[in-house]
Symmetry: none
Subunit: 198 residues, 4 copies
DNA sequence: GACTAACCGAGACGGTACGTCCCGTCTTAAG
DNA sequence: CTTAAGACGGGACGTACCGTCTCGGTTAGTC
């Protein structure tokens, strides 16, 4: 990623924050207009009033560029800690889903997932920036549940994260069924993560 | 899809079966050499010794072409029916996973999943040909389990299919953890689909 | 050179004569507007309504392209044969000079000469197409003069061609003195190629 | 030109002579390696360990830079004055030719001639620095010949300079025939500048 | 001894053009 | 009517340099 805040000082003209922002703004606008597959570096440069080289100087390719945009516009993930695991899970995972469904970010996220398939370098970055952090919060919620006795202490949290996020991604990608609160309840119920009703 | 068996008879030179095969062979070879993103219709035509037009006449684009190749080389899915749901599930789902992991077909499948994200027409085809059929077999196994009393009759089979295939796809896509028999047992166990050990 | 008349027949779509002409027209227009150094293949393609690849398919670079344009617009060189060497020389060489001075072709010719300096492949083509032919005609005139006894039979015609064209090119390139009929007379006089006046 | 000797004194850091030399050295090295057309200011700056701005501060462009390099490495022109015009001419013009043929300076000189075609400002500089001075010496030799009666007093010296240098440049540029002492004799002979043999 | 001005290296910047790849369409002759 | 061949208009790629700019840092003369 090209985090302008971390720009190392040294000789030479310093990196322009305005330019950086103009590029990401252009990415957002073009993404909204024509979607990830029709986004071209060329168009971003033109739209931002920037030389192509300036983009290539800081980002290896369009996937990285879009990911940085995505990180910028993604709402801060909540880190609920109410003392009730079921409630925390619902709050957090609902926010996760809404991060995809609200603002048409879903197709962008899946496009990046697609890109990650064919580019190992980007794949790792993608995992670190967009997957791992969320999994971490999820596992913290589950761990607190274990401490409190709400969840069997022997259950593998990494596995659980897969079992939770897996179906969510599956629906995001295939779009064959809704990705909503009802689905979330069904999912958590099937995994015995919420108290049985009745 | 361009099902050669459906070629309608009539006046004029008939469609060449050899050409059809040569094209799919070329797809396979190029896929192996440089992967889906670097596959171009141009290269397929050259490799197959075929005019580009001939490809465009029968396939809308490279995704469709690759999907047909994939369907051709994918092993026939087993339809186990041993009278034991847990065993059938393991047999079938293991075959599902191996269809991805053996023969380097995983990246091709995920690339198509990627393509499906941005092309609704292809997405539907992809779902019908590569997702739906497998889900159907899975649901049959589960349904038989319900009939036999191995599975609670009230459980939603479509939901269960999501909960099973979701995590599998998730690991296929992210590659952060193995996609093997052990994972399958964990998955089925967490969903109460196999008898508790002990 | 990319002589469309010599296009060899065979399978595949034949070369478009219209496109060929449109490209050369665009070259002429752009040359007139902004000169050789500011001429870009990109601009030619845009102006001609043609893909860049179409240009690169037929010409190795802009020098070749411009040379073909030049050959197209250059007036047919006269081949005077009046029986009088001095008169023939004057007629022919004046036409040679006017081919440079009329129609602003001078800068184009010198630019090609410049290009020929750094590109051996083009240099040879340039010599063959724009230099050699004219030298040939000149030497024929001189040879006829020798036959008739107007010129010493022992004089080296190739050397004479250098001594005639050399100063003409020199003035064309340096522009420090006029390139006109008076100069021509001085030149021929100094070389004893015209009868001494008085 | 950027004559370091003329640096005017005053406040501020004075111009660095080392930097100046490093730049011209880099020009020479790069010229030898890849020729004039492939020489870039960027490369000169990098090679010389110098900022691009420093180059642009002192030279308008690469042609000027290269011309200064050329003037630096060109041997001082001889100013022969033996009392014999033919001998003086041969000495001087041979040195002129060798200045081109020795040390691979020919392509550089012709490249500058090329550059002069399209850039009037540089053209004037080029004429003053690389053409005029040599013509001046040549005309002096001829003038002394006239004084001594070796050359007809009525002959136009400027014209004669064109008739001498013209063919020499012509061969330098076209490379179709050798540029050597034999040619020089032929040239001077044809212009009646050396005594007829026999 | 501080101040000021010009120099210098480094390198980011907006921009133009390059030559290539591939797209999907088209136009031929051959079968 | 299909096929192989391949030209076509077009869009984008990633790179090379252009000439300008903006930093921190240097190196003199002047106050």
């Amino acid at each position: 990623m090209a985090d302008i805040a971390e720009a190392k000082t040294g000789p030479g003209r310093p990196r322009s924050a305005e330019t950086h922002r103009a590029i990401l703004d252009a990415v957002g606008a073009l993404l909204a207009e024509s979607g990830y597959p029709n986004l071209s570096i060329e168009a971003v440069a033109t739209r931002a009033g920037v030389g192509k080289q300036t983009i290539y100087r800081w980002w290896p390719g369009k996937a990285d560029l879009v990911m940085e945009y995505l990180l910028g516009v993604s709402a801060q993930m909540p880190r609920p800690d109410t003392g009730n695991m079921a409630e925390d899970l619902r709050t957090f995972l609902l926010a996760s889903m809404e991060g995809w469904t609200i603002g048409k970010l879903g197709p962008v996220v899946t496009a990046l997932m697609a890109e990650a398939q064919s580019d190992a370098r980007f794949g790792e970055l993608f995992f670190r920036n967009l997957i791992s952090a969320r999994r971490g919060i999820l596992k913290e919620i589950l761990a607190r549940g274990q401490t409190r006795g709400e969840l069997d202490a022997h259950r593998d949290l990494d596995l659980l994260a897969d079992l939770i996020y897996g179906p969510m991604w599956y629906r995001l990608l295939l779009k064959h069924a809704p990705l909503d609160a009802g689905f979330l309840d069904d999912l958590l119920g099937a995994l015995n993560l919420v108290p049985r009703r009745g």
